[in-house]
Amino acid sequence: MVRWSNVGTIFRQELQDQLRDRRTLFMVFVLPILLYPMLGIGMAKLSEAFQEQPRRVVIAGCQNLPSISTESTDKTAPPSLLDPTETAFNPTLFESPGDSSRLIITCDDDPRWLDPDTRRSLLRAGEADAVLVIPPDIAATMARMQRISIPVAYNSADERSQITYLRITRLLENWNLAIVEQRRIAEGRPEGATDPVRTEAQDVATRAEAGGSVWARIFPFLLVLMALTGAFYPAVDICAGEKERGTMETLLISPASRAEIVLGKFLTILFASMATALLNLGSMGITAFALASQFSKMPMRPNASGVTALLTAPSLESAFWMIALLIPLAAFFSALCLALAILARSMKEGQYYMTPLYMFCLPLACLPLVPGVELNAFTALLPVTGVSLLLKTLMQGDYTEARRYFLLVLVPIIIYGLVSLRWAIDQFKSESVLFREAERFDLRGWFHHLFRDKPRTPSAAQALLCFLLMLVAYWFIAPFLSLSAYSLLIMQVLVILGPPVVLALLLTRDPVLTLRLRIPKAADLGMAALLALALYPLVSELRVWVDALFPMPESVRQALAGLKDLIPDLPTAFLLLAIAPAICEEFAFRGYILTALERSYRPAWAILLSALLFGFMHVLLSLFQQLFNATLLGVILGLIAIRSHSIFPGILFHLINNSLAIAAGAISSDPNSRALSDRLFRDRSEALFHWPIVLLATAFSAVLIIRLVGTMPRRKQPTREPATPLGTGQVVS
């Protein structure tokens, strides 16, 4: 039982401590208030400094250009390239006339510019940014309406020269167009003759929306970054710092339970994280407003709307969503930082953990910045990415899409937060974490220890290792297998069955107990079989719902159909899709992994975690759409395994469940069994049962599940062995 008064006392004191800490105050309050106005001023100044320097262009052979005739009424004369003073290009050839001052031209008849070799070295020496060589016969060629070519020499290794070249290209294109236009008018042909198609941009986004889309990319990223930074420093201070200053032990000996201490500290970190994120965003918003109003006073260039769009603040509604989503995100970061920070013995060691934490979080936070990465069923589940993508969608004003994914983002991030918090509490209960001495890590000694001091059943860390081994095995084995029915079988045996069996044999003293290889009671077998039968109609309904919510891409659908062609007949289908998964997956998830989790967690947590791992495995190795069914079945299989102390009822359940799917498919597609399938299914193509069958079976399975849950042990099983091989009277020294 958590006494909230204790949590409150710890929270208030920790918060007061943090508010009295100059470093925290600076990081959380002062820095954002000062930083962004400074950045704003800096940006304004920088943009002045970045006013582009005029580039120097040398034109060799100015005198060859057709005579200048701006005032000429002669419609057939081509427009001039230069303005009358011959120090700049003709301003009308630029998109915005002011741009002509950004290119200073020099008419230089020096023969040095005409020789390609000296021209090159002069350019490389930076004497000019680009050189135009006007051919001597230009006027005559133009008059004959033949193509002229104007060499433009530049140095692509020099960025300024490169930019100058691009501008000149643009300019010459415009000159080209102007000449064509001139000729069209002269020949009296209609506009469409030379310029038949023209695009007309019609942007339906309002200026605020355009602004939103720019904010929508940047804001979620910044929010994530700030929430993480805001959580990290206080976490290190109130965990590692408390150890370092010697107050941790005192707190642990107080009557406050570990959960109360962790919650109190967690709330403090959460507060700091949210305060940091909100203050930063607030300050940034105000700076942006100020910048925007400064810009709006400036004379606008037509293409400057992008700048205003960037500086238009997001709407109040998106701001609300931002804060609402910040809470679970900050909670996840706070719990994660807390669990990491308690591992550290000192503040200094705590700082070391920052790099791996950022390496983990930043790529996830950066994903939404990548164009084309959008909310979908998979990205929604990623710990940080889901939230920032949802924020992006909300800020773009796409509320229908956001509503569709809201729960799918919120529920996982809350689960990740809870799991991290639970991890933090576990860390606080661990003697080796709290009283960690500086020990030398000795790899050989550690290996010796692994084999010498084998535990009877594996630890939670080994469960995770087993899961990762399965993924790694898949990664390495998959490329070597051909696409055939039997490679599917080999894959399941090597990837799913291999790691848990090998680990159980190598690293535990009791592989039989670890893998639950006990003869089951007949009653348990019977119940598993009944439950599998009763649950199946609901399972197939769920499958269809999930498919409707998260439709499979067509390519995946085709790949699946291709997979079906691999399987020649029904017995092979049973072997590959029912018998093999039932055995392999049960050994792995209800055998090794659940036993391992059971040693460290209460049964409810152990079942939930193993079911989540089971679900993730299906996402990673197979289809995202299987996540929900696999997790749900994982929970029920976990219940069965813990109640029966045996793996076999679970195998039976799994076998029946998968066989029913195969059988239902076979019956509904077989024209000979039309009568039977009409009696069973209301929708033959999807093999959906008649509603009465679904309801009755579901009600029956609910009764069975309630009975199962009722017999569940509430507390962690007392370890069947002493925590260490040493007991009273056994003296080892």
């Binding site: 204790n6 004191q13 010697g246 107050t247 000996i253 107080s254 890590f441 000795d442 001091d453 020294s733």
Partner: protein, 257 residues
């Protein structure tokens, strides 16, 4: 009161396997008595006392504090003890008053009782001059007083002092011992560990001498000196350690260690 029977704690060491830090230790302590745990650094004193204060779980044996088993009722045990050690830090960003108040609240004391108790303790320890001074600015002696106040704020029947005087100057250590004697006279059950033989001789009615995790001798100081024929506790201690050393030299040399 405190009852410790066959208490054992082993830690896992990657190279040596399970190594006992405390091995089969048995002693008891009654109300109004100070029991001294005497031993060099690393003997297992701190590990024993941490098991009594429930932050470490024993790997064998039984310990009851104020009638509660430390494994089965750790919360009850924590409510009944005050624990203080040399390593006990104080919060640098809290004042003396806030720190004591904080722990009082964690002991679920009512505001009125907490306030009157704090006034009494601050008077008794003469802490009123620095009650609003931040922890970071307190001198060592003041910090010790804050720690004592924190230890006894909830008026626990059992007090555990783990080398409280180590690193203190003579005056502060002496005043601390004086306070501990006064607490004993109030009827508290007190366990006091130290590596200082003279200190233990001055304070404790009974002592246990611990070395390499095992209790080598247990009894009243005078009776122990008689039994082993030694002039004082220090000589007694060396005597006991020497016996132990003789045993260890008999052990065959193991190049793997």
């Amino acid at each position: 009161m405190i009852q410790v029977e066959h208490l054992t704690k082993a830690f896992l060491d990657y190279r040596r396997g399970w190594v006992p830090a405390v091995d089969d230790v048995t002693f008891s302590c009654q109300p109004g008595e100070i029991f001294g745990l005497l031993g060099p650094n690393g003997a297992g004193k701190t590990t024993t006392l941490r098991m009594l204060s429930t932050v470490l779980k024993p790997t064998g044996g039984v310990a009851r504090v104020a009638g509660f088993d430390v494994v089965r009722y750790p919360e009850k045990v924590r409510e009944s003890i005050g624990f203080m050690s040399a390593g006990t830090g104080i919060y640098e960003r809290r004042t003396a008053w806030e720190l004591v108040e904080f722990f009082g609240r964690l002991y679920q004391m009512s505001p009125d009782r907490l306030r009157s108790r704090m006034e009494t303790i601050f008077d008794w320890l003469q802490m009123n001059d620095f009650r609003d001074v931040m922890g970071a600015k307190l001198s060592t002696g003041m910090r010790q007083k804050v720690s004592i106040a924190r230890t006894i704020i909830h008026d626990p029947p059992v007090l555990i002092f783990d080398e409280p005087t180590s690193g203190l100057d003579v005056l502060v250590a002496r005043s601390l011992r004086q306070r501990i004697l006064e607490l004993r006279d109030q009827g508290k059950t007190i366990v006091f560990s130290s590596h200082d033989m003279n200190e233990v001789a001055k304070l404790c009615a009974r002592v246990g001498i611990i070395h390499k995790g095992r209790l080598r001798a247990l009894g009243e100081p005078a009776e122990l000196l008689d039994r082993f024929g030694q002039p004082d506790l220090e000589e007694l201690f060396f005597h006991l350690v020497r016996i132990d050393g003789d045993i260890s030299t008999v052990r065959p040399f193991d190049p793997a260690l």
